[in-house]
């Protein structure tokens, strides 16, 4: 299909009657609505405010094939997942029963392919699917909704606590022409239930586009620690994550972005119940030619809610980073407590960073703060380290790591943290090595002939 409104619409009309659960009127209605909203708002262009720093024109001018159902899988991809941990694997948007490890799940935890639930017990989804994500000003969420077909439905019964992290691995892969994959994820955490989700996005091949939409529901008192690590490589990853937090629930996100040709995260959190808390931590590391855009939005809709947001970025070469963090305190959300900060470390002069914290307050008894900084490595700490015999390159690495370390320190202790720290460190090393090369070449260029 052509990645244009007409292309999507044509493809939708052709496939509508063959999509899973096509007999369900409510579902078809939701899909129709997705396509209608997509048409109404159009695809983002250079003048679309929320997309002005993230050009998707290239993406939208190409032919995208339907998802490859049985691609060759990258070797070594499960290396990081401990054998004892339960694992959900999505391959090009489809739940893979054979790769997933969902046997002997703890009581109260259910994990199923979304397509399967649509076929077997669709009534469970009727009130949930599409209930969290707002499609307004979210054209790609609307697109995903139009083509809802597979993904995962995960639910945790009330009062169940699971200590061991659950892995969700989303693979976008294939040697063929660029394809469009659209996984849909629905997570339903019951009252006072608690668990940790480790989501890992891996893409390889070239030019593929993954448009994922996740909806997360936290009932009263529920807690979710959501770690997500993105590695889109040469692919484009558009990731919408919409979270609804009811009374006294706690959503804690740790978002780690490791480069990518194009990575866009839309993280939208609605604090709908009094006393709900969200913490959004983010770390993005970008090398030359990479583009990562983090758009977050936190809606304080009830009184006594607290939100904390800390995003940090390290950018080298000709990277382009975007951060837009919006916090809206709605009328009546008294005693809201919101803090937001975005800090960026630039390793090269050719980097572009667009950062915009936004605060809208419609209540009069609130505590809110926000801020953003952009800086280079400071000379004084570098000099201090070098004065102790530490080489320039190693000293830079130490300082860059120290900058990232604050985010790693926020990760929950344990094997996941070790794994992420290790991955971040290795990525930074590569980033600095590349930067070093550019630096040398630059010096070389400056030398008189």
């Amino acid at each position: 299909m052509t990645a244009s409104i007409q292309g999507f619409e044509r493809s939708y009309n052709d496939s509508r009657s063959a999509l899973p659960g096509q007999q369900l009127a409510w579902l078809q209605q939701r899909r129709d609505q997705g396509i209608a909203l997509l048409k109404a708002q159009g695809l983002p262009g250079p003048k679309t405010e929320d997309w002005k720093y993230t050009p998707v024109q290239d993406l939208l001018q190409q032919q995208l094939a339907p998802a490859d159902a049985a691609p060759q899988l990258p070797a070594d991809i499960f290396r990081a997942v401990p054998a004892a941990h339960h694992l959900v694997v999505l391959v090009n948007g489809h739940f893979s029963a054979e790769l997933s490890r969902c046997e002997q799940l703890p009581a109260g935890l259910e994990i199923n392919s979304l397509a399967q639930v649509l076929a077997s017990s669709p009534q469970r989804l009727r009130e949930r699917l599409g209930s969290v994500a707002s499609l307004d000003k979210q054209p790609f969420a609307a697109l995903n909704t139009g083509f809802i077909s597979d993904g995962v439905y995960l639910s945790l019964a009330p009062n169940i606590r699971i200590e061991q992290p659950l892995w969700l691995l989303n693979l976008t892969t294939g040697d063929g022409p660029p394809q469009l994959t659209q996984p849909r994820i629905l997570i339903d955490v019951g009252k006072n239930a608690r668990f940790t989700l480790m989501e890992y996005q891996h893409a390889d091949g070239s030019g593929h586009c993954c448009n994922q939409l996740s909806e997360i529901m936290l009932a009263d008192g529920a807690q979710l620690s959501h770690l997500h690590l993105q590695r889109p490589g040469n692919c484009r990853l558009l990731r919408g994550t919409h979270v609804r937090c009811e009374r006294d629930s706690h959503y804690c996100s740790h978002n780690v972005d490791l480069g990518g040709a194009l990575l866009r995260n839309d993280l939208v959190v609605q604090l709908t119940g009094s006393g709900a808390v969200c913490e959004l931590n983010g770390l993005y590391l970008l090398g030359s030619g990479e583009h990562v855009d983090n758009h977050t939005r936190i809606d304080h809709l009830a009184p006594h809610c607290r939100s904390r947001e800390y995003y940090k970025g390290i950018l080298g070469g000709k990277a382009h980073g975007v951060f837009n963090g919006k916090v809206i305190v709605h009328p009546g959300a008294q005693q809201s407590d919101a803090q937001q900060s975005n800090r960026n470390l630039l390793l090269s002069r050719h980097v572009e960073i667009d950062t915009k914290p936004e605060l809208e307050i419609y209540a009069d008894d609130v505590q809110c703060s926000h801020g953003s900084t952009v800086s280079e490595l400071e000379p004084e700490p570098l000099f201090y380290l070098r004065c102790r015999g530490i080489g320039d390159k190693q000293a830079r690495m130490m300082l860059v790591q120290a900058f990232a370390d604050e985010m790693c320190q926020r990760l929950p202790l344990g094997a996941l943290r070790d794994e992420i720290e290790h991955t971040v460190q290795a990525f930074l090393q590569t980033l600095l090595d590349t930067f070093e090369l550019e630096h040398d070449r630059h010096d070389h260029d400056r030398r008189p002939a």
């Binding site: 000099f383 201090y384 004065c387 015999g389 130490m398």
Partner: protein, 260 residues
């Protein structure tokens, strides 16, 4: 060990040090004293290789190497150590990680194997006792949330771990209470030896009660205006720096300028 001949240093075309010559031999302790703004810290910074200075000198050598051709890390690896007047805090780098990386960088330069974590920790713990610091210091971020006295003691700890050939201490005594001053002085004295030299850059004489120098130089307006034995420090303590001012004005104006 250290030989400076006719050193002139400017910052943004403002001359800070003028025609300064200084020789420090192995086994010696020199004190460089002077009022605020006399150029003491500039001298320390220039020797350690800080950026941002325009340096002219007939010679500036350390153990026979031309310092002007050496990066800060090369100077450190050759055995030069600067204790900072204002140690830099680096959140996210732990003290132990920093010390170990520095220590092993020096070993590598000398062609030695890096010390493993256990041996290194044992060595550092002995040094910690010397400066009366708790081992919990090691896990804390480098100088972050350290009190002024803790930062200064941390500089001495680094010096004791790295065992430099030439230690330059830039106002390490300032802001210390008497107990901390004794600890710092003890650390400095323990480093004294026939193969090492120490340069104490200080505003006050009181450190010199505990670390008795072989020579005292008085820096005023970028020049060494007096050199002498420890008794010169006593004299400064009693009379202040005012009595040197005339000497300084006289010697700072080059002869060819003539009287104003």
């Amino acid at each position: 060990m250290l030989s400076i001949r006719h050193l002139n240093v400017s910052v943004n075309n403002t001359e800070i040090l003028r025609d300064l010559s200084l020789d420090v031999a192995a086994g010696e302790v020199h004190a460089v004293m002077g009022p605020n703004g006399s150029g003491k810290s500039t001298l320390a910074g220039v020797l350690a290789g800080r950026d941002g200075y325009q340096v002219r000198a007939q010679a500036m050598t350390f153990r026979g190497h031309d310092l002007r051709e050496m990066s800060p890390e090369e100077r450190a690896r050759e055995g030069l150590f600067l204790a900072f007047q204002y140690p830099v805090d680096i959140p996210g780098v732990s003290n132990i990680q920093f010390l170990k990386t520095a220590y092993n960088s020096l070993r590598k330069y000398r062609g030695e194997e890096p010390l493993d974590a256990i041996d290194f920790l044992a060595m550092v713990k002995a040094r910690l006792q010397q400066v009366n610091m708790d081992p919990s210091f090691l896990e804390r971020s480098l100088n972050a949330d350290f009190s002024g006295g803790e930062k200064k003691r941390n500089e001495i700890l680094q010096m004791l771990v790295l065992q430099p050939t030439l230690a330059i201490l830039d106002e390490t005594d300032s802001g210390l209470d008497i107990d901390a001053l004794r600890i710092v002085a003890g650390g400095i004295n323990s480093l004294r030896g026939p193969d090492r030299a120490i340069v104490l850059v200080t505003h006050y004489q009181r450190l010199l009660d505990y670390v008795v120098p072989d020579q005292v130089h008085v820096l005023s307006d970028g020049r060494i205006v007096r050199s002498g034995g420890p008794e010169l420090a006593q004299q400064l303590e009693q009379q202040g720096y005012g009595w040197l001012a005339n000497d300084a004005t006289r010697s700072q104006r080059p002869a060819h300028e003539g009287p104003r």
